[in-house]
Subunit: 191 residues, 2 copies
């Protein structure tokens, strides 16, 4: 398979460390659907690697089973578009390991871009981020599950994207929807 | 609750008539997740009504149970953001009934906008559609589940939106992702 158009831009879907409803730091559960949706969306926009981040062995095995079923099992013949979508999906222990993996493969440490539902003073807009993408660098877009990414991940990231806002004050988009909208804003083609 | 910012723009998630993988016209199954995701996304962008379209009584009851649980049951206190999201969600027999419902409530027959994964000669782009939305009219955005909307729905619609395209040829986005991206393109606010 040819390299993606944006093979220097990678995505991490983080299940730890994230907050739960009570504001505690937890490991959230991987859902089959998030793995499929984020894979299809990443494939549509030509993303490099998609890392499903969880430290739990049982959850890692679940993701491996999903990928295996659609890439080499019965699913590969039943629905080849899923095989294609999952081609660049992999499960990994931690965000640090994802950074290491990108660095090893590309020779460059990726710049970290976090996404967040609330406005921050240091937010970068979508047009500015698109400008940044013109550089010959590696990038890792980080999305949190549950009630959002642990604050040190936000604070230590090089960029924090502006939140997605509609005309209403309601901002409780599923992470699947946030990934779709953000990749479209950054990498979508409009004729 | 105040009227939505785009209370003249409505959305229909159609489960019949749609195609299956073999190209046959079928009733697709309602999924709990599609109901929640499309409700949250619609709420974010201030959509008027969200119609979950299915002619099957058992499926209609499923949707009513989901809505009931989060609007008045235990879920309403557990997670009020879901209650808010589902405020304008309703199940309906057919696309014709959705059109009738909008006409009765607003006094105007809605203009039908279909979405489709393939390019059509008559496609309208997103900027042109945004211009159209400035008129004092009612609109119904129609999304198909399964392998897409039956062809007469496409042919009879007043507008057919350009498909979502990334840099790659792969176009197998989940309907949830298509709804998110299209509402963001048409109604999103970018600072």
């Amino acid at each position: 398979m040819a390299e993606g158009f944006h093979s220097n831009i990678h995505l991490a879907l983080v299940h730890y460390p994230v907050y739960n409803k009570a504001g505690e730091i937890v490991v959230s559960s991987v859902t089959t659907l998030d793995v499929h949706d984020s894979s299809r969306i990443s494939r549509t926009y030509g993303i490099g690697a998609l890392y499903i981040v969880t430290p739990l062995k049982t959850q890692q095995e679940l993701v491996d089973r999903i990928i295996g079923h659609w890439k080499t099992g019965y699913g590969a013949t039943y629905n080849p578009t899923r095989k294609e979508a999952l081609h660049k999906t992999q499960v990994i222990n931690s965000l640090q390991d994802a950074i290491k993996d990108i660095t090893e493969h590309s020779g460059k440490k990726p710049r970290i871009i976090v996404t967040h539902a609330k406005r921050l003073p240091r937010n970068i807009g979508y047009d500015d981020m698109k400008e940044e993408f013109k550089k010959d660098e590696q990038y890792l877009l980080v999305f949190g599950t549950g009630w959002g990414l642990e604050k040190n991940i936000i604070n230590n990231a090089e960029f924090a994207l502006s939140p997605i806002e509609g005309p209403e004050k309601y901002n409780h988009l599923p992470v699947r929807a946030a990934i779709a909208i953000i990749l479209d804003r950054l990498l979508g083609i409009r004729s």
